[in-house]
């Protein structure tokens, strides 16, 4: 009560101050500012020594990094290199973690059985909870532990503002702000973080567009799905040295599709529900700095990797248990999971997927990280139990369930374009303060994902390609 009257009073006071200021035009404020700067200039003249060497470095680098010829190709190259290092570097630790964790699962499993634990307890805790957590950790940890430090390095170097500088003209054409490229970069790590980062955009209209489209950048929870499916179906036949390169190509392509959709949706929003002109943009281009490697590694591992992993595990553990129950509780002859999947199946088929895949995406709403474990668990529970320690076995599982290259393409596109995760939606609600826009943040990507997959599937089937 006291606070709200205080707020109201402050609001009144601000309004009075504003009218007073406006009645003087800009002249009073200008005089104050000129005076402050005169003082500041005097002080800097006396105490600051300027190092011209550092400045030259920045100038020379920018001659290339923001040039007409190299500006755009270099951005693509940087993205490609980061993805390539992540993909080729994550392979081996992923395999090691997987065999270690699934080996441990067997030991725990045997322990449970020798203690005479009931089958349902073993199922929920080992096959449900442990299995999901093992999946999330082994699939997500290695790419994150590589991707986040590399990205933080880029941030520390001062390259990201150059990306905004290079891309601003495209955003201006979509009548949005160039700083949206910065929020998109944050989205690579986590879309919820990307949505929060949209605060750097001054115009409320442009900020809202940036929030609504942030989801079209694949976050770290979705990267592993893209990498795994890209590896299995895109390049399975290639020699192993070429695989990482080819997967990099595929993932870069998928990201480019996401960027294109971001522009297209932003363009559309600026000309429909969020009509308006491009407002101003002031962007600072700080000098390049030598990154502090130790602090980069520390910050990206502790602040980001562990944080995101913790969140994923917290969601994955109970979700794994629940999914196991749903997959192993029978109504009549068929489990609840199979009932649901069967019910979704006709619809899912029109967009080139099956009921299990769509169900996994729906159940994965709390966090995208668990989509893959859910899918694998539901496939396994509906068929024979197999050990899944390598991608080759995963490929067999998918192919046994009728996957083609079209299924893989659709799952990748759906992963890229579908609704944001629960955390991102909650963050959107907080940032926009509006239920309506939160709903829009859900409906827009969902519509885009279904439309794109539907058109692709129907076209390919019509042409008889799959």
């Amino acid at each position: 009560m006291i606070r709200s009257t205080g707020d109201a009073f402050l609001h009144e006071l601000n309004k009075d101050a504003e009218t007073l200021r406006l009645s003087y035009g800009n002249s009073l404020g200008d005089k104050i500012i000129a005076d402050i700067y005169k003082n500041a200039e005097q002080i800097t003249k006396n105490v600051i020594l300027i190092d011209n060497n550092k400045k030259n470095w920045t100038l020379k680098l920018d001659n290339y990094l923001t040039s007409k010829v190299f500006g755009y190709p270099f951005m693509l190259l940087v993205l490609g290199i980061i993805l390539w290092i992540t993909i080729s570097g994550a392979n081996i630790p992923s395999d090691i973690l997987a065999s270690a964790l699934f080996g441990l699962q067997e030991v725990v499993s045997r322990g449970f059985l020798s203690l005479g634990a009931p089958a349902w307890l073993h199922g929920v805790l080992v096959l449900g909870v442990f299995n999901s957590v093992a999946w999330v950790v082994s699939v997500m940890l290695p790419p994150m532990a590589i991707f986040f430090p590399l990205f933080t390095l880029l941030e520390d170097l001062g390259y990201l503002p150059r990306v905004a500088f290079n891309l601003d003209n495209l955003f201006k054409k979509a009548k949005t702000c160039g700083k949206q490229s910065l929020t998109m970069c944050m989205g690579f790590g986590c879309n919820a973080a990307g949505v929060v980062a949209c605060r750097i955009i001054d115009s409320p209209r442009e900020r809202l567009i940036a929030i609504l489209t942030n989801n079209f950048v694949p976050c770290n929870g979705r990267f592993p799905i893209l990498i795994a499916i890209g590896t299995i179906f895109g390049v399975g036949a290639l020699a192993s040295q070429l695989q990482a390169l080819a997967v990099t190509g595929i993932i870069t392509g998928v990201i480019m599709i996401g960027v294109f959709v971001t522009f297209a949706v932003s363009w559309f929003l600026s000309r429909s529900v969020l009509k308006g002109e491009a407002s101003s943009m002031v962007l600072e281009l700080p000098p390049y700095r030598r990154p502090k490697i130790v602090s980069v590694v520390y910050r990206s591992i502790i602040d980001r990797t562990i944080f995101v992993l913790k969140r994923a595990v917290i969601v994955a553990a109970p979700a794994g248990g629940i999914i196991w129950i749903v997959a192993n509780t029978y109504i009549g002859e068929i489990s609840i999971l199979n009932h649901l999947a069967g019910w979704l199946n006709p619809f899912a088929q029109t967009i080139g997927m099956d009921g299990y895949i769509l169900l996994a995406f729906i159940l994965g709403l709390p966090a995208n990280e668990i989509v893959f474990p859910i899918l694998i668990m539901s496939y396994i529970s509906s068929g024979t139990m197999i050990e899944l320690e390598s991608l080759a076995e995963l490929q067999m599982l998918f192919i046994n369930h009728g996957w083609t290259w079209l299924t893989a393409a659709n799952v990748m596109l759906f992963t890229l374009l579908h609704w944001p995760c629960g955390t991102t939606l909650i963050t959107t609600r907080k940032e926009t303060g509006s239920k309506k826009w939160t709903l829009a943040a859900f409906i827009i990507p969902t519509t885009v994902a279904f439309t794109v997959c539907f058109i692709l599937t129907q076209t390919v089937r019509l042409l008889g390609l799959a």
Binding site: T58, T66, S67, G71, D168, N169, S280, M281, V282, L285
Partner: protein, 81 residues
């Protein structure tokens, strides 16, 4: 925006040349942002480079590089040096 003799818009400054600010014809939040960065009448500004597709343009102000869009720079009047 009032007329200042001999002045031209900042957006027309060619790359590599410098100017001093004559008048800031912007209003509202952007005017504040611009002033916060130290762009006030009398400040020296150098045009550094344009973005790969011709816009925005980077200017050096008080040792800092700041990028502005053509539309915004158009409303700042300067005296070329």
């Amino acid at each position: 925006m009032s007329f200042v003799p001999n002045a031209m818009p900042l957006s027309q400054l060619s790359i590599g040349s410098s100017c001093t600010i004559a008048e800031i014809g912007l209003n509202g939040l952007l005017r504040r942002r611009i002033q916060d960065l130290g762009i006030i009448p009398g400040t020296t500004v150098e045009c550094l480079r344009r973005g790969p597709s011709g816009d925005p343009t980077a200017y050096v102000v008080r040792g800092t590089t700041i990028a502005l869009r053509k539309e915004d720079a158009h409303l700042i009047n300067v005296f070329p040096i």
